[in-house]
């Protein structure tokens, strides 16, 4: 067994192709910029007007350079694709690191292909999600996000080594290093190298995706529940309530996030039980939200109202006691709780929700103030509908476009926040494979061994980029309505 190279057996043919294409691309882009500048200087640009504003139509040399650049980009992508696909075909020894990594991700590729085939096939019946398939930006974003979601789901099938296991002699080894004295049947390489404690960087990155995707979307959902439940009445009723809530929201927003984290996410804070009080307040909002939602809708039909509100309260308060107070009543029946949260995790979760909800509050409040001046709201008021019915069933659905876009952006922001927490070593155990703390652990030896920090950094960046692109695509498509 030898160390792997990045490209494996395909390298000698395809790397020169990529190099040449990259040089050609650089020359073409530089030339294209020069041509545009020349056109700009002589004032010949943008003669033809098409569309709402003035569009330039490339001609002559510029057009040729565009074509060259496109061919070069195509060649580079094709070569990278071939290197990756080689992982499926070549024999064990001649696969490269990229080929192996591509192969290890096979459940993700399969799931992605199935999802996209079905989505494109039925896109006309899928509403906003289906429309996303018309926007290339949105599709790329969705692809990246789904890649990480599926990675999190199939993480245990993808990893090559135990993410916490420390193998001797593998400290800070370069990517593709072969495992010394491997056990029988185990994977023989550290694909993306080893970290400062001789753990496999690749497997830790994959498990990190699971950690991040467990917390970030859930925290964002809770922040939205809090923001929506408070923002609706603040925008709709206005007055003193609005002044008070807005003041509180601005107060939290004026707090530097990192200072707040340093104050809230500490072991001492867990001792005082303050996170539990926070949780007691913040986790109540989803229960309130759904109870009011069903109550206002089915008020005229008491049996159904009682059923829905009753079920909401039962399930909601059950989860609430478990999550916020770690006192799930089921524990006394079957011996172990169904809803529970580790105190440190609870602290991180609550802090992230707390930091995020004022932003949601402001957006919801602004949207409500805009929408409540519409005629259909006035019509509802004239019909004698209750304020909460109007807010939850008439205003909120009409504000969904911007809210969905903000939701995507905010998951990305929450991911960044969680990474920040990990980067400062707050609230997570040093064993944890989440990306922020892995970056933090890797940065001490950054200039000698960059790979333990760069791999999770790129992973985090790509997830947030995917979410931002997805939000952009959604915004574009929802504006077309």
């Amino acid at each position: 067994m030898e160390n792997l190279s990045w490209t494996g057996a395909t390298g000698p043919f395809l790397v020169p192709v990529i190099t040449i294409a990259a040089v050609v691309l650089a020359v073409a882009v530089a030339g294209r910029i020069l041509v545009s500048l020349a056109a700009w200087a002589t004032g010949t640009a943008a003669q033809t007007a098409s569309g709402p504003v003035l569009m330039a139509r490339p001609r002559g040399l510029g057009r040729t350079l565009d074509l060259v650049a496109q061919v070069a980009i195509g060649l580079i992508l094709l070569a990278i694709l071939l290197i990756a696909l080689a992982g499926f075909i070549l024999p064990v020894q001649s696969k490269g690191i990229i080929g192996w990594a591509t192969l290890r991700f096979w459940p993700v590729w399969a799931a992605l292909i199935v999802t996209f085939t079905l989505s494109i096939r039925f896109k006309r019946r899928l509403g906003l999600y289906g429309k996303l398939m018309d926007s290339p930006v949105g599709m790329v974003g969705l692809g990246i996000v789904l890649f990480w979601v599926f990675t999190a789901i199939f993480a245990s099938a993808i990893i090559t080594q135990d993410p916490l296991g420390q193998l001797s002699g593998m400290k800070n080894v370069m990517p593709g290093s072969v495992v010394k004295n491997p056990t029988e049947g185990a994977f023989a390489w550290y694909l993306f190298g080893g970290d400062h404690l001789a753990r496999d960087v690749f497997s830790r990155m994959v498990m990190g995706a699971q950690r991040v995707l467990q917390i970030a979307p859930a925290a964002t959902v809770f922040a939205f529940m809090v923001g929506v439940t408070l923002g609706l009445p603040a925008g709709y009723f206005g007055g003193k309530l609005d002044t008070l809530l807005s003041f509180l929201a601005n107060l939290v927003l004026a707090f530097p996030v990192i200072l707040l984290f340093y104050l809230l996410v500490t072991p001492e804070m867990v001792q005082t039980g303050i996170p539990m009080y926070f949780a007691a307040v913040l986790f109540l909002f989803p229960v309130i939200f759904f109870a009011v939602l069903f109550n206002s809708r089915f008020k005229t039909n008491p049996p159904r109202r009682n059923l829905y509100v009753g079920v909401t309260l039962l399930l909601g308060l059950w989860a609430y006691t478990g999550l916020a107070f770690n006192a799930d009543p089921i524990r006394y029946l079957i011996g172990r709780p169904i809803f529970s949260m580790d105190p440190n995790m609870l602290n991180v979760f609550v802090s992230v929700v707390f930091v995020n909800s004022p932003g949601v509050f402001r957006i919801v409040r602004g949207l409500v103030m805009d929408i409540k001046a519409r005629d259909y709201v006035a019509a509802g008021q004239t019909r004698g509908e209750s304020p909460w019915y109007i807010m939850l069933w008439e205003i909120l659905p009409n504000a969904r476009g911007p809210l969905i876009v903000d939701f995507c952006l905010r998951i990305g922001y929450t991911t960044i926040l969680l990474g920040t927490l990990g980067f400062f070593g707050l609230g997570v155990s040093p064993e944890s494979p989440d990306w922020g703390s892995t970056i933090n652990a890797g940065r001490k030896l950054l200039s000698m061994f960059p790979h333990p920090a760069v791999v999770p950094a790129v992973a985090l960046m790509s997830l947030v980029l995917g979410l931002n692109l997805l939000a952009d695509g959604l915004r574009e498509e929802s504006l077309k309505d």
């Binding site: 530097p256 340093y262 005082t272 990305g412």
Partner: protein
């Protein structure tokens, strides 16, 4: 206008008071005080000893009273040690022979003593703010022109290739938090084993082992491009994308206005239309955005100063928070809150001045 400003300043002071009280309360929670006592006196104190240490150092009163003392609206605590020496908040570090004042809080200009740095807070703060000031200055010099140019270029012709390329770049930078871009920059430009430095070294184009320096510690004595370039780039990059996107949105909106079309139809060259008719109106919104970007920069400063080991405000904040240095933390939060609120105020006032369509009575 005057009433508006006065009202805003009133809200500002109220906000600052509430926020500092929150910080004060959180840093003065019993477990934090116990940690402080153990780190100041001895790590192996019993609970009773901790209590007596806290009592003899003025921590026995209620939080509200001590907050008043810190603020300088209540007289500082006094007491005597076990051997009969008089102690008190205002007695410490007063030159012999002088009568100590009875009030010594922030309002009297006394920021207290930093337990981590073993120096008066005001000295530490002044020094670190000086360092951070340089960082911020260069970040602004790099960030503002770059982002405005990018935004105007891409907003000038919506949907063109330039626009798509620049927008993608802008989205990519907003998706890259400082701790990611910093790590990647160091790996690319300041690593002796990876990135471009080994190659440049082999070609004989650079003298040292790396192109840039991976730490900015030496920048505190003298700024050079090579020790300060990476921190500045790291902070600026995150802001560039955001401001460029806002500028682009504002520019595309202006470009669809009737007066731009009229100017084009009159036969004014496109160049002139952009420079004379569109640019000024398009730059109103980015001004507000740049001002509101300051609080974000504060986050970036904390991360980057920690990553590059540059002993400015952010680094000080992290040290103070990590060791529960109460006075230092309070001073840091006052500065941070002040920056946030003042930039908000400036952005509101500036918006009114720049935009002729808004007039406050």
């Amino acid at each position: 206008m005057l009433i508006f400003v006065l009202r805003r300043i009133g809200v500002m002071i109220l906000t600052a008071l509430v926020l500092t009280f929150v910080v004060f309360y959180l840093t003065n929670l019993p477990p934090n005080l116990e940690k402080l006592a153990k780190s100041e006196a001895s790590a192996r104190m019993t609970d009773a000893q901790v209590d007596s240490w806290l009592a003899s150092n003025g921590f026995a009163q209620s939080t509200l009273v001590r907050y008043g003392e810190w603020l300088g609206v209540l007289p500082g605590w006094t007491g005597t040690t076990a051997d009969g020496k008089a102690t008190g908040r205002c007695l410490n570090r007063i030159p012999a022979g002088q009568t100590p004042p009875s009030y010594c809080g922030v309002l009297q200009g006394n920021w207290g003593w930093s337990t981590v740095f073993k120096q008066p807070v005001s000295e530490v703060l002044a020094r670190s703010l000086g360092h951070t000031g340089w960082l911020m200055l260069w970040v602004m010099i790099v960030m503002v022109p770059t982002s405005l140019i990018l935004g105007v270029l891409s907003g000038m012709r919506e949907g063109s290739r330039t626009d798509r390329v620049l927008s993608t770049f802008a989205i990519a930078t907003t998706a890259t938090p400082e701790y990611v871009s910093g790590v990647i920059f160091i790996a690319l430009f300041a690593s002796a084993t990876a990135g471009i430095s080994p190659w440049l070294n082999e070609m004989g184009w650079i003298e040292g082992k790396t192109l840039f320096q991976g730490t900015a510690t030496s920048a505190m004595n003298g700024l050079t491009f090579w020790n300060f370039g990476l921190p500045v780039m790291t902070i600026a990059l995150y802001g560039i994308g955001y401001i460029a996107r806002m500028t682009r949105a504002s520019m595309t909106e202006v470009m669809t206005q009737q007066y731009i079309r009229t100017a084009r139809l009159k036969g004014v060259p496109f160049r002139t239309v952009v420079m004379k008719h569109a640019l000024r109106n398009a730059l109103i919104a980015p001004f507000t955005v740049i001002m509101l970007q300051f609080p974000w920069l504060l986050n970036g400063v904390v991360i980057v100063e920690t990553l590059f080991n540059y002993k400015g405000f952010g680094w000080t904040l992290v040290q103070a928070a990590g060791n529960n240095d109460i006075n230092m933390l309070l001073a840091c939060s006052v500065v941070a809150v002040f920056v946030v609120l003042v930039t908000q105020l400036i952005s509101d006032i500036g918006y009114v001045f720049l935009n002729p369509r808004i007039r406050l009575a």
